[in-house]
């Protein structure tokens, strides 16, 4: 449950005043400024001309003796770095490295600027190390014990918003050699421990052990809203040890539930509104490549924006359907338009952004297009070696030519 502010600063305000110092160690007081201080913490970007909006923490009981007449802040920069430190654990109790950040001085303040935004919910320990610097030598002397303050950013009171918005393949009958699921979320999700929240449950309510390929590098899209969940290919591939020992994760004739836990946090640290379940039955394995020449095609008429419609005898990979088919005119220029995938990924439509003109066109299809069992147009998921040479030299794209009249 972490809410991270975009930018957050802790500030020591140092108010110069030529008052009498009480410490016995100090002599020659006119060489020094005594600087009373307060600690302030403020989110940047609200109100202040520099984007700083201070709110003050207690300033009752301490002061930092710093600097001097006509301070040259650049010269004392190193000294200032040790003046304020911020920790995530109590440095008086355990050895802990300070938070990365920089102490910056101006005429009236010292500011600790953390290198990364502070996180809400984390208790920060602010250590102020008072010192006195001689105007002549810039040499520091300890004046008092360190002061400590704690600071905790209020947790934002966020409501859960994330849900599972779609799972592909969307149909409820899937082959036992199913290769992957795409899980779409309504909001960006937290990454790093996805396999803790995803379960495959058999019809007796028992969890299938390790059905998925648990990669440290999780297969997300850019926005962390779509996760690609691969079934363990070792269990699918004929004759590999996992295949022999454990067999397929899915068995034909049975039904399973893909279960996503609702306590999976989104990127804001909030759990989902609810968990998600997809119940599906399992059919025998699919080992045949999709063949574009077996697809049903409906071509549009000139002067309209009718869609091109392809229908497939089986569900194909939803993500690839969105991406690997393009329409070209006779000059092989790519036609702009929108793609719609429907009917459990057995139907692909392309609606052009301008009316069709009479002439010759072609659909270009990358042969990486797969069905849900990883059989691509180029080659089945696994091949008998005796066949393999026939497939290796296959084309990267195939074309379906059509003419609009």
């Amino acid at each position: 449950m972490r809410q991270t502010f975009r930018l957050f600063c802790c500030i020591l305000f140092l108010c110069p005043c030529l008052s009498t110092l009480t410490g016995n160690e100090i002599e020659d007081t006119e060489e020094y400024f005594r600087l009373d201080y307060s600690i302030a913490a403020m989110p940047v970007g609200e109100g202040h001309p520099d984007g700083i909006l201070p709110f003050f923490h207690s300033a009752d009981n301490g002061f930092v003796n710093v600097i001097l007449r006509d301070p040259d802040f650049e010269q004392i920069s190193d000294l200032l770095q040790s003046c304020v430190r911020v920790y995530t654990r109590d440095p008086r109790v355990e050895e802990v490295q300070p938070v990365f950040g920089e102490v910056v001085a101006s005429e009236s303040s010292l500011m600790f600027i953390p290198r990364f935004p502070l996180s809400s919910g984390v208790e920060y320990y602010i250590e102020c190390a008072p010192f006195i610097a001689s105007a002549e030598t810039w040499r520091s002397k300890t004046y008092t014990e360190n002061f400590y303050y704690t600071l905790q950013l209020p947790e934002e009171n966020l409501e859960p918003t994330a849900t599972v918005s779609a799972v592909y393949p969307s149909r409820s009958e899937l082959p036992e050699n199913l290769l992957k699921f795409y899980i779409h979320f309504s909001h960006p999700m937290s990454v790093g421990k996805v396999y803790d929240y995803i379960h495959l449950i058999d019809e007796e309510g028992k969890e299938v052990e390790l059905p998925f390929l648990e990669l440290g590098e999780e297969l997300w899209d850019y926005d962390s809203q779509r996760l690609t969940l691969l079934f363990d290919p070792g269990r699918i591939k004929t004759g590999l040890v996992p295949n022999i020992q454990e067999g397929l994760a899915l068995h034909a004739g049975r039904s399973y539930t893909l279960k996503i836990d609702g306590d999976w946090e989104d990127a804001q640290g909030q759990p989902m509104i609810d968990g998600f379940e997809k119940v599906f039955g399992v059919t025998t394995g699919d080992t045949v490549s999709p063949n574009p020449y077996n697809w049903k095609k409906t071509w549009p008429s000139a002067g309209t924006k009718e869609p091109i419609v392809l229908t497939f005898p089986e569900s194909l990979d939803e993500a690839l359907l969105q991406r690997v088919l393009i329409v070209q005119n006779k000059y092989t220029q790519i036609m702009n338009g929108t793609v719609k995938v429907s009917d459990h990924e057995t139907r692909w439509e392309f609606t052009p952004s301008v009316n069709w003109q009479p002439g010759k066109y072609r659909l270009e299809i990358e042969t990486i297009l797969e069905d849900v069992a990883g059989n691509s147009i180029a080659r089945p998921f696994e091949l008998e070696k005796t066949e393999s040479e026939n497939y290796r030299a296959g084309p990267e794209v195939v074309h379906l030519n059509f003419e609009i009249q």
Partner: protein, 373 residues
């Protein structure tokens, strides 16, 4: 994590083969100086003269950063840092559950240790490179003014991207599962979040203005009968019989070898299966090293201790051609070093020690140096 391990091999084989890889139009940039804004920090690898390769997969690029960390050291320090994830979190000003350590590598020149870390777990997580010394002091590697160059890894065929909904919401991304520099090229194993076909890219370094790279389809023979695409989880260049080979562990568990010279543009490389991990056991990381005149391969995996293989056995092993009996690991002779458990990341610290990122029960991480077996 492996480049140090094969430096001597690199010298032996020099600049042959992939000089001709200058097709495959991947854009790249000449070296420049300035601030590097990372969108993500994934795999790391060191190249020559302190060059750190870094996979920024959200930006679909690999950066080559001149660290300037070139002072030669023959030995690394003694690392025994408990709860490194908590210490990293403290330095980054957040809680340990917000830290992901993607990779840990040793600069083979200076023996300094670099970590690839995400701070935060959402889409707005910050990517950072940290260094850590043997005393446990963690520093931010400053990317605000560095000399660097980059190689772009194509995601969707970008020249075909069109507007108005056509591919406008392209969700395809490749993750880099491992990288290694050998023979003036960076070899990069990638896995797509869409099509299953896997690639090994060999990208000549220094990256050229129009960067060259070759995408190679990887297959593996499955007990002589079947062949399949296989994404590479981790790999290491390795000298077998005097030639540089790639020893690659697949996500589906076979361990295969193929000559580096097989990596030609548009090639379909078929590996020789030399071992297979048992079920519930995933390859995680590998290094090679020399000891007492022999070369060894060390592989971390998810279920057992570290697996140690002598190079000589790879040279003479014919490959698995029959069904594997019902055992944990089949193929080349190997030793299991049971003490090394929970090893997530593995690199050579110096000629006598490995550096490991070890996950303890309960999930916390230790960064340790351990004498090579």
């Amino acid at each position: 994590m492996k480049i140090i391990t094969i430096r001597s091999i690199c010298v032996m084989v020099a600049s042959l083969m992939l000089a001709s890889l200058s097709q495959a139009a991947h854009h790249g940039n000449a070296s420049k100086k300035g601030s590097v804004e990372l969108s993500s920090s994934g795999s790391l690898a060191f190249g020559p003269e302190g060059v750190l390769f870094l996979a920024d997969q959200k930006n679909a690029r690999i950066l080559a950063i001149k660290t300037g960390d070139t002072k030669v050291a023959n030995r690394g320090g003694t690392y025994k840092i408990n709860d490194i994830d908590a210490k990293v979190a403290a330095a980054l000003g957040t809680s340990p559950d917000q830290i992901l350590i993607s990779d840990v590598v040793v600069n083979p020149t200076s023996r300094n240790v670099y970590m690839s870390v995400s701070r935060g777990k959402g889409a707005d997580a910050q990517a950072v490179i940290l260094t850590v010394n043997a005393k446990g002091k963690i520093d931010l590697f400053d990317l605000s003014n560095v000399s660097y160059s980059e190689a772009i890894i194509p995601n969707a065929p970008e020249d075909k991207i069109t507007g108005e909904g056509r591919r406008a919401s392209n969700k395809r991304m490749s993750v880099v599962t491992d990288m290694s520099y050998v023979n003036e090229q960076l070899v990069v194993a990638g896995l797509s979040n869409e099509e299953f076909a896997s690639t090994l890219r060999a990208i000549p370094y220094p990256f050229k203005k129009v960067n060259a790279g070759a995408s190679i389809e990887i297959y593996h023979g499955n007990h002589g009968k079947y062949e399949t695409h296989s994404p590479v989880r981790t790999f290491v260049p390795f000298d077998i019989g005097g030639d540089v080979h790639v020893v690659a562990a697949y996500t589906c568990t076979p361990l295969v070898t193929f000559p580096l010279s097989d990596l030609k543009p548009k090639a379909h490389v078929m590996g020789k299966t030399i071992a297979e991990l048992g079920n519930r056991n995933r390859p995680l990381d590998m290094v090679v090293y020399s000891k007492a005149g022999s070369n060894y391969l060390l592989m971390a995996n998810s279920a057992r201790g570290i697996m140690k293989v002598e190079a000589m056995s790879l040279d003479s092993f014919d490959g698995i051609v029959a069904k594997v009996p019902n055992q944990e690991i089949a193929g080349v002779p190997y030793k299991t070093i049971e003490d090394w458990t929970g090893i997530m990341q593995l690199d050579l610290l110096d000629p006598e020690n490995a550096l490991v990122l070890q996950q303890k029960e309960g999930g916390s991480m230790n960064l340790m140096s351990i004498g090579l077996p």
